[in-house]
Symmetry: C2
Subunit: 489 residues, 2 copies
């Protein structure tokens, strides 16, 4: 059963397509409410609803979702939602009528004093729809499993865990990662070769500090990562990407160079590095004394067959393997790991310093337990199902509504690339923003010095929205896509 309340950003368009977009998501609700975390849940919800009405995102007469579905979406008690609705009816923001549900009242007027208090506190504005490929679904954070691990970790921790920390990170976590990474990703290492960091960026910064010479990077990748490398004095050199992944034969042959790669699933264009290229880049590293940095940013999310094993397994002395929980659990945890060749361990620790100054120990111990007791793999299996379904909704919708657009990079990960006709990317990104849909154009990822032919496309992070907001985000996306060129279907 579906509730018929409307998308507040584009009422007309939404109504026209409603039956299609909601898909399996249940309620079809795509009201994006952001609780600010201050005070009781009821107060937070009331503030968020008032703010949505005041800002015009919820317009007069709009029907609110039933208690049950909003409570589920926000992860709060049903009574809390009922209380908040009742209170807002009292205050005159909402009306409630038997049979027609709860709706936004006509002429709901904010108190001036309240408006100023709210605006002073508000976090940076978030878009209504977020398809940036930045984050997994925050609403899917495995709270109860995480708390179970936290409790167990806290009980089992030895006292010294709460003193000054080993800069390599907690041994419990390094132990559990050795086993997990071997099993799931084919990584071969020992706990002494692992250094825990606060995520990929932190690890890359530590590593870049000890690198000499240029770093070969893929022509499309995160500008932010290239900046980290350049800030430490190493220029980046772009490699062409073709249908077999990065052209590793373009890596400069100078001694002790470095290549930063995303072999499991090129970021963001998609697709694994071809097996011949995998061998070739290992050969390059062996023959020149070079180093490969393997960014295994979503090696865990492969949908249609077993994931490609880590490149690191081919030569642990030539590859730094890097991973984190930012995509697999949450970027809010700030935990990542570097699996290092033996010769680099001391250098990295020299940069990191004699003490752990970055990553909190409670998170590390909790993650160690979470991994050891299988909760991590359970969570990954569950999220793979969720994301695969979303991917299928995305590809299904594009096939139906915009069949002239090809969707690529969908075998793995939390995002896909919609390949666009020439000269339409910028227009599409702008059209998306106009609907408060945030996503990235492919050109935002392009290395400024790349000589490969430019591609146009949209990078669609389908992991990011909470479940209840996904269909609305897809709908907004479809409206932002360019029309089929004349003559095409």
């Amino acid at each position: 059963m579906m509730d018929s309340w409307v998308n507040s950003t584009d009422e007309t368009a939404r109504s026209a397509t409603e039956p299609n977009v909601a898909g399996e998501s249940g309620s079809g609700a795509d009201l994006h409410l952001e609780l600010d975390g201050t005070g009781s849940r009821r107060d937070q919800l009331m503030r968020a609803l008032r703010e949505s009405i005041r800002s015009g995102r919820l317009t007069q007469g709009t029907r609110l979702p039933p208690y049950r579905s909003l409570a589920t979406d926000l992860g709060i008690a049903r009574n809390t939602v009922a209380d908040a609705y009742a209170e807002l009816v009292e205050e005159g923001w909402l009306t409630s009528k038997q049979g027609s549900g709860t709706r936004v009242a006509p002429r709901a007027v904010p108190l001036e004093s309240e408006r100023s208090r709210l605006s002073a506190r508000r976090s940076p504005r978030r878009p209504t729809h977020d398809l940036q490929p930045s984050s997994p679904d925050a609403a899917a954070f495995p709270r109860s499993d995480w708390m179970r691990s936290a409790r167990r970790a806290m009980t089992n921790a030895s006292n010294e865990a709460f003193g000054v920390g080993d800069p390599r990170g907690r041994v419990e976590l390094r132990d559990s990662l050795v086993d997990y990474l071997a099993r799931a990703r084919g990584v071969r290492t020992k706990p002494e070769r692992i250094v825990i960091c606060a995520g990929f960026a932190h690890g890359l910064r530590l590593l870049s500090t000890i690198l000499d010479g240029a770093v070969a990077v893929e022509s499309y990748g995160l500008a932010f990562h290239r900046e980290i490398v350049s800030e430490t004095g190493s220029p980046t050199v772009p490699l062409t990407i073709d249908e077999h992944g990065a052209r590793v034969d373009e890596i400069p042959d100078s001694g002790s160079g470095t290549a930063l790669l995303t072999p499991a699933h090129q970021y963001p264009t998609g697709g694994p590095l071809h097996p011949e290229r995998r061998s070739a880049v290992i050969d390059w590293a062996r023959s020149t004394g070079g180093l490969i940095i393997e960014d295994d940013y979503d090696g865990e999310f492969r949908y249609d067959r077993e994931p490609v094993g880590a490149l690191q397994g081919l030569d642990p002395e030539r590859v730094v393997y890097m991973g984190s929980v930012s995509k697999s659990i949450s970027p809010a945890l700030r935990i990542g790991w570097m699996v290092l060749p033996e010769r680099l361990v001391d250098d990295v620790l020299d940069v990191k310093g004699p003490r752990e100054l970055s990553t909190g120990v409670t998170g590390q111990l909790t993650l160690a337990d979470f991994v050891s007791f299988g909760a991590y793999e359970r969570h990954l299996r569950r999220m793979r199902r969720v994301y695969r379904r979303r991917r299928d909704l995305l590809t299904g919708m594009i096939a139906e509504r915009a069949p002239h657009i090809r969707v690529s990079g969908i075998a793995a990960g939390l995002h896909a690339v919609l390949e666009l006709p020439p000269d339409t990317e910028r227009m599409s990104v702008t059209a998306a923003r106009r609907q408060s849909l945030e996503l990235d154009g492919l050109n935002a990822y392009r290395h400024p010095d790349s000589t490969m032919p430019s591609r146009e496309g949209l990078v669609v992070g389908y992991g990011t929205p909470p479940e209840h907001a996904f269909s609305g985000a897809l709908e907004a996306l479809c409206l932002a896509l360019p029309e089929a060129p004349d003559g095409a279907d």
Copy 2:
């Protein structure tokens, strides 16, 4: 009642002074066991005991502490200790006799295979006695209160908390800090002026990046902090310290300079900045457009009267107030805060980046709850009692055993300075190391360009050892002190 088992590092000396040093600590036990966190607590304890016997720290015939006191010290169940002892008796490492307790067996011999497994895993070796002023007592971590807050925080968190984070840090934490810091330290601010960081060093690094020109620092201070400042391109200029604290009149008068100070309790020499100097440095900042960085590293630990309020309260637009939980709860949490003048907030956020890449959200939310519900202040009150007692044991012991040595900087904080006669500091540090007692000489803190007369002394961090190891550490300290000069006492 006291147990008569012995200090394993120096049996004779310990016996000679036993009645004095154990003081109020209850068991008088000073066996330092370090559990490695792998496997069950029973296995960890067994490994640690085997390792202590094997390394010679526990010698033949040494009596082990009773179950009860070791269990309390390590924070594990009494039965676990009993099991471990029984098992080691079985294995032949220990002997147990009615009336004489459990003792190290004669000729306890390790298995070769076990030795190699152990050495491969061992963390960097820690000293037997640790009086470095680096850390509060790790064994006093408030586990159950922290877990209570963690559970509540996890239940109350909104879903967006687990997405990409605001680089200012969680608003819940900034809210709770505004109230706490106002109440406890006289800091005047708003949540929007606070930026959460991974501890003092991280905050100082962010801040240093946006500073222009030289930074005036105290002639004695952490070399590590000076390095952070210099690495970002700002030279440091030392200020003389006299009986009124740092000579703020020596701060260069050039425009937009910066002074990094520890006004509540000069680190490490002790003593607050004199009220006239507090006014003078604020005047300096106002008249030159300068900035003061206030390192309030142990503003919470003042023993004999109310703590001096934060300098920041005098002029929130001229002072960056920085604090962390590293001394007040644990350095393993990696959470600190910067309270910024309004004009610096955006600059600091520009350096920190558009997303939270440092501090995990679960720790932040837990700390927010911990502070809001009063658990933080309760913990501080408890620790103040513990540390004051330790300070009194230290001063009492020095007065009795080494009356020629003056103890200074004891009104606050987690460390004291033992002022030494000329040319005895290096010798004393070496003598301490010989007994596996780690502490710092005052000269390790001295700015290399300082022109003030050199002081000799030992910086004694009495917060660091766990309760059961404190008396042993004090004993080792007394043995490392220089004799009274001829003619004195």
